[in-house]
Each structure stands twice: as structure tokens, then as C-alpha cells.
Amino acid sequence: MRKPVSPLPCLLGLCLLAASAVPSFALPAAADGGDILIKNGTILTVTKGVIAKGDVLVVGGVIKQVGGDIAAPPGVRVVDAAGRYVLPGIIDSHTHLALAGTNEGSEAITPEADVGSVINADDAAILTALSGGVTMVHTMHGSANPIGGPNVVLKMKWGRPSEELVVREALPTLKFALGENVKQAGRTVQPGQTQRYPATRMGANAIIRREFEKARNYMEQWDRYKKAAAAKNPPKNLVPPRKDLRMEVLAEVLRGERVARCHSYQATETLEFMELAKEFGFKVQCFEHIWEGYKIADELAAAKIGISVFADSWAYKMEAAEGIAYDAGYCAKKGVLVSINSDSGERVRRLFNDAAKTMKYGGLSEEEALRLVTFNPAIQLGVDRVVGSLEVGKQGDIAIFSEHPMSAYTRCEMTIIEGQVFFDRASAAPKAEGGAK
């Protein structure tokens, strides 16, 4: 997959580095070639326990061995992780970085507006994410619309062309949203403007229902046409229906080829959305932020719907008023698949801190807390077969931390994607400090 770096940008990049001391232009050490051996660290595999003093070998971007006393194959870079913690790259289940635009807010229903079409691989938030050990993010359409657009999963390969960032193994998702944002609670309607429908929570539910009914009708039209066209004596002058990108995406959801990721805060509207999903037979993969998840943890667990939430910072708006810091930890104990998300290109660098808060609020163990930003988001994104834990055969996405990642004193030292070092504090920090002067 990896392509040789063309000489000009590379040279230019080097010139820039030398001249301006801006650290961000250091392209990842391409010479690594996806092979790396990490020695003598405390290995937090997440799924297969902890190895007190162990090694991880990545060859060709894939984890070849996890264990003790692994000999370095010839030419493979060795990283000494003595006294450090080696963990799977952190995964953010819900953010909005590396995009040229977040919301198609001009209309309420925009499933045609695909964030995958507007990736901006130049967003420096990718570097920010890397500095916090994040290797993969689910970058999403915003919450302005009851039905937003399809989302995309990216690896944080800074300096690589945008197409190399896209994780094609991930589950196709579509953003939905409920509550204050979609009813535009905070918006003052100016003279001459009209209030966008829906303006209430019941309206949000109604418009989503209406669109799915339209999509059903659209699918039926196509089915009828295809059946007629395939008949032995197709009718003369058979005219196909008009292809509609908006309906095509909803049809994917109804056919089960794309799952719903729904921004919701309050319990009642969330239950209503679950009813709607049941009625139309589509899959809700995850509720986003859901501050009142603790009120319906049993229902979520029974329906096998995950949640992706903040660790704290509740009560910043009316619909978050009944949020509690115990939301994530409590739901996790109730058997809900929980991840901690950043929702931002800045918080993304301290997801490990946020995950650790569930130990204090909710009583999760170190292992359980670490899962909230590694294996659990991997399951939510449908990529747990390839990332999310340190196991042989998985992609070599690895973070190395100075202390246990759930410690308040820890920091990320190195971030590796598919065996390639994309962030190394040892070389980045002095340059960053130089640049800041």
C-alpha cells in the first residue's frame, strides 16, 4: 500500500524543517517500512492480559509476535521501551477532525452529504491526535440535522495522502441527531428568516420517520422497475425511477448495509429512536454523548446498542443537565458497550485521561477503563478484527506511554501506525519548543 515518497515534497519538507524549525513537517520515518520491534516494555494487550516485561514485533505493518525475548530480525528498528507501557493505538469513536466542513446545516435531511468526500489530510489536529497516542478516529458529520451524512474512519497517518488515511474495513455509518441541536434551540430567528423544521423533539422524530417512509417508497419503486425490466416480455417504454443520492444512503441503512450513529442526550427521545429503528428494521450501532444513558442502561444492553460518551463536562446546556460523571462507568458495568470520545480535534489528545475518570466515577479497573478507548471503540467501528488490541495478526497500531495510560502522570512518548513511527516525542518536543519561541 505504501508508496515511495516523491522526492520534491520530501526535499522541500526537509528544507522547511531546517529553515523554520516547525516540527510538524517531519514526515514519518519512511525508512521504517512498517517493521519495528518494541523491547522490554510493560505490554497492555487489552484482550490477552498484561506482560510485565515483553516485546512486540511488527513486520510489514502487521503484529508478528507478542511476548518475551523476541530477537530483532536484521535491519528492523528496535525501540527500547524499558520502564514504559506499550498499548494498542487509542481509537476515538466520535470526532470531527481532518474535514473541510462539519455540517450541511442548510437543510434538516442531508444523508447525501458524505464527510468522506471532504477529508483534509492537512489538518494539524491529526498531529494533535498522534501526540495523545491516537491512531484511528471516526470522524463524523455534525449534529445540526436529524439526518446528517455518512461518516468516515481514518488512521492518523500525518503527511500521507488523504486516500491512505481511509480505513476501508470499517462499518459504514450514518449520522443522526436528536434534541437541542437539530431543533435549533440556540438559534434566534432573524426578521425575514423562517424557523427550520423541526423545531421540537417530536418534529425530529417525525421528520426521520417521514424520510424512512420516503426511502421505503423509493426502494419499492426501484424493485418494481427491476422486476419489470427483468421480465420475459418487459413492457415497452419502461422508464426507470430517478436515482436520488439522498434516498440511496437511507436505502443502505434500511438494507442493513449502513448502521446508525445517533447523537442524543436524553433518555425519552433515545427510546423513541430505538422504537423507530425497530419499526423500520435498521441497526443502531451507537448513541453519541447520551448523558442520560444511565437511565436506560438495561434497554441499551438488551438492544445491544453501544454508547460513545464524554467522561465529564456535563450540564453545559439544558439537555445535559441530568448528565452525571458515572454515566460511562455505570453503563459499562450494566453490559453496555461503552467508548469515551473526544468530539474535538483538541480533546482527542487526552482520551486516556478521560477514560481514567471512569475509575474514580464508576469504579472501573485499569483494564476496563483502557478498553473504553481501545477495544470498545474498535468494536463500535467494526474494526475489532484488525485493531483495538495487541494480538498477533492485527495491524501494528501501537502507542508507548511513559506511565500506565490510566495514570494522571502519564504521557504519550511514541505513536506507531502499521509499524511506522508517526509521532516520537523525543524528536518532536525540542522542535516544538523551538518553534514556540
Binding site: V22, F25, A100, G101, E104, D114, V118, D122, S162, K236
Partner: protein, 440 residues
């Protein structure tokens, strides 16, 4: 004409026609013959002639060659050009010359605001202004000073592209042979122009919405063209497909593969355009593309005509623009001018265009900067002559000095892209413009 005591309608019409025609060369009138003598000739497609004669007759090149082979015709006016070099007139296959569009009313996205009432009542499917049908020619206000500025930079031919909205309308190719617009027109409706921008306060308000909108528009145009064709073939037993002016204007670009130009504002736009081009099998060109070198791998795999702009400011989203002034300025001075040189090195074909650079002098500065950044001067010359002529489908008429081609010739003291070069005379369609008395 019959003499009539009353002023007849035909008379008025003929007077009006006469007035219009008086603006350009009278039809059927034969233009002058010139023999440009003793100049160095750079035909671009043939080897350089060190001391030659170039014969121009009635707007076309009749002959050219060394002084001992080509003689000035008896009826020719001799233009003494010793010490000057003759080049084919440069072509900018993407410019904003003469473009004076009315400022966009607040909150309105597109240049069409004629019937706001009717638009508001249109069903959702018709909510877009009929941008694709707009002809930029109707909005042009030619200015002598602008023509002079481009002449003095060596240009005789420009494509003028519309500049507002997503589906911006259709461009015109002009030969800069004077001030009246009609005699300049080489081709109207040259290409459809699309920009990856957004509508203010209306759908689409985001780039992802814009991309969906572009795709849905081409889907609809294909559908419309197919329905109309089916109906034209045999309407019996078919419900008449409804006329739609916007899709009617778009249909030729999918049905007949007429040229479409995508304005690419950064490296990602290049990739976005390539995806849309592939999806609808468009006959497309990319304009601007000041970060094209960053997509060199993709462009080598999927060759597409490139109209490379000479604006070296890093795009707002670029990593070169978002991390401090120092880096941005450095990138503008050292990295972005190297775009064309990098493409040439990779063997990727392109034309250089004036794009939004409004005056000839700034275009010339851009060309010189690209050369200083490593673009060989002969590659630059080809990128401003034969290459754009080919991209515009006008290479039988333009782009080099050859007998039979349009007499677009610039006579320069010095090498055309040299800092000290001075354009002395310009022929456009065989019309002579004198700019500087240049000493030998």
C-alpha cells in the same frame, strides 16, 4: 434598397445591423499583408529560425522561413524586426479578463437573481439557479487597457471563465484583436465551469453538500438526456418528460462529453474532481490546481488536462497556511512556485494559465517565478502555446507559428520570459499593435 418615404422596419433593421457590423472589420473585407523581416522566429513546433521572414496575409500566417528562402510579397507592408524575436501569441486557457459581474446580493449564492419570487415557489428539486446555462460572454466588458496589459505580457488569446457559484456557467475563448467583443470570439460556450465552493445561507452550505449537489446534478442530467432522447425517438405511448432549463443546459456535458473545467483550490479538490470525472465519464480539465504536485502520483495514474494557475499563495486549508506566517510566506516564495517544475519533472502535461491574475504584468511575474523555481523556459513556452491550444481543441488554428494558422504573433526584444524582455509589437488575427520602439 427600396426608397420609401416612411421609415420601414427593414430599414431600421438594416441600420442597426450596419451599426453592429461597423464595430468589427467589415465582412468580406480583406485585411492587410505584412512581411515581418529579419527577425528571429520561434515557431515552437519547428526549430528556431535565426534570421527569418514571417508573412501575414489577411489575418493568417502565409509563410515563414529564413531570409534567403522566404521573400516578402510585393503587396506586403514590411515590418522591420531586426533584433526582435517572433513567438506565437501566448494563450491563457483560463482567465478572468474583462469579467465584471454584479456583486452578489446578500445571502444569494448564485449570479442568477432574476425571479426570487418564482424561485421561492419552486419545488425542492428545482431550487438551484440555472447556472450551467449562463454564457460569460454576455457579461464581459472589454477594456483597451486590459488588452494592452495582456499583449505586453505576450498574450493574444484567453479563455474567460465565469467566476461565481458552483455551476458557474460557460466560458468563451477570445482572440485579443481590438476592443469590440464580437470579432474577438473564437468559441462561445467553450466549457462548463464548476467550482468546489458553497452557497451562502442556502443548500449546499458545506463542501460535502456541494459534492453531493454536483453528483446529483450530473445524475439528473444523464437521466434527463436519456428521457428526452427516448421521447424524441418515439413519443407514442410515452409520457412527455418535463422541460427543465437547468438540466437542458447540463445535458450536453454528459451526453456529448463537451468539456467541463473543475476549479481545484487545493490538493484534495484535485482528487475530488477526478472521482466525479470518473463517475460520469466527463471530458474534463482541472484549473487552478496550485497544489497539483502534491497529487502527482494520482495524476500520473489518471492523466487529465491541467490548467495550472500562477497564484502561489498556499490555500487556506493547507498545512503550509495554518501554522504561522513565517511558514506561509516561505511556502509562497519557495514551494508553490515549484508546482509546474515538479509536474514537468514527473512527466505530467499541463498548460499555464493566468487564472485570477487580473493584469498581464502579474501573470508574467508568475511565469518568471515558475521558471526560477526550476521549470525549463521551453517547457513554459509550450505550456502557454501548443499545450493550451491542444486542450482547447484549437491546435489547428493556434499555438505555433505555421503557415495556415491564425496570425497571432508577438515580437519581443530579448527572450520572452526574461526579466528585461520587452514586447515591441503584437499581431492578433493579423491586426498590428505597436507598443514600443525598441532600439537594435
Amino acid at each position: 434598397m427600396k426608397h420609401s418615404p416612411r421609415v420601414s422596419v427593414p430599414l431600421i433593421l438594416s441600420v442597426i445591423t450596419g451599426l453592429i457590423l461597423a464595430a468589427g472589420p467589415p465582412p468580406g473585407d480583406i485585411g492587410p499583408t505584412y512581411a515581418v523581416s529579419n527577425c528571429r522566429i520561434v515557431p515552437v513546433t519547428e526549430p528556431v529560425v535565426e534570421k527569418g521572414v514571417l508573412v501575414i496575409r489577411d489575418g493568417l500566417i502565409e509563410a515563414l522561413g529564413p531570409v534567403d528562402k522566404v521573400k516578402a510579397p510585393d503587396d506586403a507592408e514590411v515590418v522591420e524586426a531586426e533584433g526582435l524575436t517572433a513567438y506565437p501569441g501566448l494563450i491563457s486557457a483560463f482567465s478572468n479578463l474583462f469579467l465584471e459581474q454584479p456583486a452578489r446580493p446578500e445571502g444569494q449564492g448564485a449570479p442568477f437573481e432574476d425571479f426570487p419570487q418564482a424561485q421561492a415557489q419552486q419545488p425542492q428539486e428545482d431550487r438551484f439557479p440555472p447556472g450551467p446555462g449562463l454564457l460569460v460572454l454576455d457579461q464581459l466588458k472589454p477594456k483597451r487597457s486590459a488588452v494592452e496589459g495582456f499583449h505586453k505580457a505576450g498574450f493574444t488569446t484567453v479563455l474567460v471563465a465565469p467566476s461565481r457559484g458552483i455551476f458557474q456557467g460557460q466560458s468563451v475563448v477570445l482572440n485579443l484583436n481590438g476592443e469590440p467583443i464580437r470579432p474577438m470570439v473564437l468559441r462561445n460556450g467553450a466549457a462548463l465551469h464548476i467550482n468546489f465552493t458553497t452557497e451562502r445561507g442556502a443548500y449546499p452550505s458545506s463542501l460535502m453538500g456541494t459534492i453531493a449537489h454536483i453528483r446529483q446534478s450530473f445524475i439528473d442530467a444523464e437521466y434527463y438526456a436519456a428521457r428526452q432522447a427516448q421521447y424524441a425517438k418515439d413519443p407514442a405511448g410515452l409520457k412527455r418528460p418535463e422541460y427543465d432549463p437547468r438540466l437542458e443546459a447540463l445535458a450536453p456535458f454528459v451526453r456529448d462529453r463537451r468539456p467541463v473545467v473543475f476549479q481545484c483550490n487545493n490538493v484534495e479538490d484535485v482528487k475530488r474532481a477526478l472521482k466525479i470525472i470518473a463517475e460520469f465519464k466527463l471530458n474534463a480539465l482541472l484549473a487552478g490546481a496550485t497544489e497539483a504536485w502534491r497529487a502527482a502520483d494520482v495524476l500520473k495514474k489518471t492523466p487529465v488536462p491541467l490548467l495550472i494557475g500562477l497564484d502561489f499563495r498556499p490555500p487556506a486549508t493547507s498545512k503550509y497556511a495554518t501554522q504561522g506566517d513565517e511558514l506561509r510566506k516561505k511556502a509562497e516564495a519557495e514551494i508553490y512556485p515549484g508546482n509546474a517544475a515538479a509536474l514537468a519533472k514527473e512527466g505530467i502535461a499541463f498548460a499555464l494559465v493566468s487564472a485570477a491574475n487580473a493584469d498581464g504584468a502579474s501573470v508574467l511575474r508568475g511565469i518568471r517565478a515558475a521558471i526560477k523555481a526550476g521549470l525549463p523556459a521551453d517547457a513554459a513556452l509550450r505550456a502557454l502555446t501548443v499545450q493550451p491550444a491542444r486542450y482547447l481543441g484549437l491546435d489547428r488554428a493556434l499555438g505555433s507559428l505555421e503557415p495556415g494558422k491564425v496570425a497571432n504573433v508577438v515580437l519581443v526584444k530579448g527572450d520572452i520570459f526574461d526579466d528585461k524582455a520587452q514586447v515591441a509589437k503584437v499581431f492578433a488575427d493579423g491586426v498590428l499593435f505597436k507598443y514600443a520602439e525598441v532600439s537594435k
